[in-house]
């Protein structure tokens, strides 16, 4: 059964159709990429899946269960985590706390336990702390664990956002332009990291990207959007040669890459 099934979703804002008739099926363990010119509707698709917007038409099934109309935090508890196009960290919180907060919905203690600092609280807290520290190690952020998040350099902030998303124990991870603004070296290392997340942690990943090296490098399947509509779908090799895609998007990007 497909992990995520988006069927025929349309989202309209007053007068503007952001996404029209979009369908997507993601099997568990896939690494899918979504590309398209700016304004094509890619982030809006993510927002629909994550529950920020509600499509007027269409259905979204996660693990067979409909998630349309659920609130974002409920969808997060079901196992969908995401990062944002513009990094949205909790700036004043420490790096460690940013990761720990994502484990909140898994924490099994109530207000009173916290107030009394009883055994259950201490057990859960140390569990959360251990898991958070191991995630930080995985993403190379251990050294900065007590620094406030806003003081990190940009590249590390993006990594932190991914660490935070992982701490929510997702089955599906939505990454919105994870390598935006990164140097080629940073991009390479993040690329490998994302692939290893899928391989080692068995997280299904859908990512939005503009950087073709990443898309061609690690995505098994690519969806192309343009002006709110899906115009192509297939393996990276197929997409590269698709005339509609080249016309809408790839042609301009290839020039930039040079």
């Amino acid at each position: 059964m497909a992990l995520l099934q988006v069927r025929d979703c349309t989202l309209r804002f007053e007068g503007l159709t952001a996404v029209s008739g979009f369908s997507l099926s993601v099997e568990p363990g896939e690494l899918v990429g979504m590309i398209g010119p700016n304004g094509a509707g890619k982030t809006t698709v993510f927002n629909m899946i994550a529950g920020v917007y509600r499509p007027q038409v269409g259905s979204i099934l996660f693990g067979g269960v409909s998630i349309v109309g659920l609130r974002p935090h409920q969808i997060a508890s079901l196992g969908i985590a995401r990062t944002f196009q513009n990094v949205r960290l909790f700036g004043a919180l420490s790096v460690l706390d940013n990761v720990r907060i994502a484990a909140h919905h898994t924490a099994r203690y109530g207000l009173l336990d916290a107030a009394l600092r009883n055994a259950r609280f201490r057990r859960q807290e140390s569990l959360i702390r251990r898991q958070a520290l191991s995630l930080l190690r995985l993403l190379g952020l251990s050294g900065a664990k007590n620094q406030p998040a806003h003081s990190l350099p940009y590249g590390l902030q993006r990594r932190l956002e991914i660490a935070r998303a992982l701490a929510a124990r997702p089955r599906l991870l939505l990454l919105d332009e994870p390598t935006a603004g990164m140097t080629p070296v940073e991009t390479q290392s993040l690329m490998h990291l994302i692939k290893s997340l899928r391989d080692d942690l068995h997280v299904t990943i859908v990512l939005i990207e503009h950087d073709m090296r990443v898309v061609m490098g690690i995505c098994e399947r690519v969806i192309v959007l343009d002006h709110a509509v899906q115009i192509a779908e297939g393996t990276p090799a197929v997409i590269r040669n698709d005339p509609a895609v080249i016309e809408a998007y790839l042609g301009e990007v290839t020039d930039e890459q040079q």
């Binding site: 944002f84 907060i101 484990a103 919905h105 929510a168």
Partner: protein, 470 residues
């Protein structure tokens, strides 16, 4: 060990106050009222900090929650308690308990406990009623919605004849003591501290930092916003009950939007998101208003301020300069505090002068060690301040005519002047230290250690006026 510091402090303070209250027959009622007020202010500031500072909800109606707690509990003890001087005298709960052999001395605290919980629950319900509808409001809009709520509460209460209406509610039994207030201040601080150090605390802060991101990681932002209001209101209600059962009278005019603003000032001055900071600010601001009531107090507060200005630059320097600088301010502050306890007269003034001189010596030493231009500038300010201080306090006969007249005018108008000085200090404090006493950081061993370490950046923002701190 790391997390013990706040507990230690709270425990120490509670012990000190507990012991002090034991001997409270020796202390004047004025001082006891002051301590009670400080404790209540701590509870109010901490509970508001949860809403405003940690969860980022701009609430200007905290006095309304306090009023709910105060009036609900007062009405209950007045009409049902059976205390002398109330309609239920001889009967009520006291009477019933006496009937089964429980004396009033044991029953009264029990009744207060129940009243406190009722006050808290009543206020918490109000918090729920405020938190739920205002979920969609942001920032300034939320501020005035809460302001509006506070005012509505006040107006409605003033129309209820059963609690005295606009003339006020009198005859409430005095059940609060220093020990009760200290205990509840400690409970509030410990509860909030533990809550905020847990995952729930992180959830509150995540709502403040970025609601969209918080929801995306599974935090139910609605739940936490409402929870912040509910818990904050609970403790405000407790504070209200303590207030009512100490003052013995209640007046709706004590719970206006201005009173809410006073609590907001404590939270901002102490640093949003710092429990220790807001508690400290609550204590300091309450003390400040009292110290300023006398001429002596006003002079020493001014002196304290001057010393702080004098050693400000030295606080960026070496460790010795910093230690001496802080001691200078501390000694001056002590002098101001002593005006409350020891006061005017032949016994008091010499001690105050001694503290003042000690402060000036520390300030001069601090500026000297700091070196360079600071040496001269700080020394000049400190010397001017100490000379003025001594002249005004001790050597009035040496003052020239017009200055003597000025001194007499100030002595005559101290109570008006007190509020002007308070306001001026407020402005001055915000201009020099806008992030609050502790800069929004919570009190911890780490913070204390970092204060003692040699620093590279200035302790206080100096807006690039070229101090050679590298």
């Amino acid at each position: 060990m790391r997390r013990l510091l706040p507990y230690l402090l709270v425990g120490l303070a509670a012990c000190a106050i507990g012991i002090g209250s034991h001997y409270s027959d020796l202390a004047s009622p004025y001082l006891i009222q002051l301590v009670v007020d400080m404790g209540i202010a701590v509870i109010l500031a901490s509970s508001l900090n949860l809403i405003n500072g940690f969860t980022g909800q701009f609430s200007l109606g905290h006095a309304g929650f306090m009023a709910v707690g105060a009036y609900v509990s007062a009405a209950c003890t007045y009409y049902l308690g059976g205390f002398p001087g109330t309609p239920a005298e001889g009967g009520g709960v006291l009477g019933a308990l006496a009937g089964i052999g429980i004396p009033a001395a044991v029953a009264s605290p029990l009744i207060l406990l129940v009243a406190l919980l009722m006050a808290g629950v009543g206020a918490a319900t109000a918090g729920l009623l405020v938190g739920l509808p205002t979920l969609r409001l942001r920032g300034d809009y939320l501020a005035i919605a809460t302001l509006g709520f506070g005012e509505i509460v006040r107006v409605v209460i003033s129309q209820v004849e059963a609690v005295g209406g606009p003339r006020g509610f009198t005859g409430i039994p005095r059940l609060t003591s220093v020990a009760w207030v200290a205990a509840w201040a400690a409970i509030t601080l410990v509860f909030l501290r533990n809550l905020l150090g847990s995952s729930h605390g992180r959830a509150f802060v995540s709502v403040r930092e970025d609601e969209v991101a918080a929801a995306a990681v599974g935090v139910n932002t609605t739940r936490y916003k409402v929870l912040a209001f509910t818990i904050g209101a609970f403790f405000a209600g407790v504070a209200g009950c303590l207030f009512a059962h100490y003052r013995m009278t209640l007046h709706p005019g004590s719970f206006t939007f201005i009173d809410s603003v006073k609590i907001v000032v404590m939270v901002v001055l102490g640093g949003m998101g710092s429990l220790a900071g807001s508690a400290a600010a609550a204590i300091i601001l309450t003390l400040l208003l009292e110290v300023l009531r006398t001429f002596l107090g006003a002079v020493t507060v001014a002196y304290c301020f001057a010393m702080t200005i004098a050693v400000l630059p030295a606080l960026t320097g070496t460790r010795a300069a910093r230690v001496l600088g802080v001691s200078a301010v501390g000694a001056a502050g002590l002098a101001a505090l002593m005006t409350l306890v020891v006061g005017e007269g032949d016994v008091g003034v010499p001690w105050i002068v001694a503290a003042g001189v000690l402060s000036a010596c520390c300030a001069l030493a601090s500026c000297w060690i700091a070196g360079g231009r600071l040496r001269v500038r700080g020394a000049i300010i400190a010397l001017t301040a100490i000379s003025a201080f001594l002249l005004v306090l001790v050597g009035s006969s040496l003052l020239p005519g017009p200055l003597l007249a000025a001194k007499e005018w100030v002595q005559g108008n101290v109570s008006q002047l007190r509020l002007v000085i308070y306001a001026a200090l407020l402005v001055g404090l915000m201009l020099t230290r806008p992030t609050g006493l502790l800069g929004g950081q919570e009190l911890s061993w780490r913070l204390l250690r970092s204060l003692c370490r040699p620093r590279r950046k200035p302790l206080l923002e100096t807006k690039g006026r070229g101090l050679a701190a590298s």
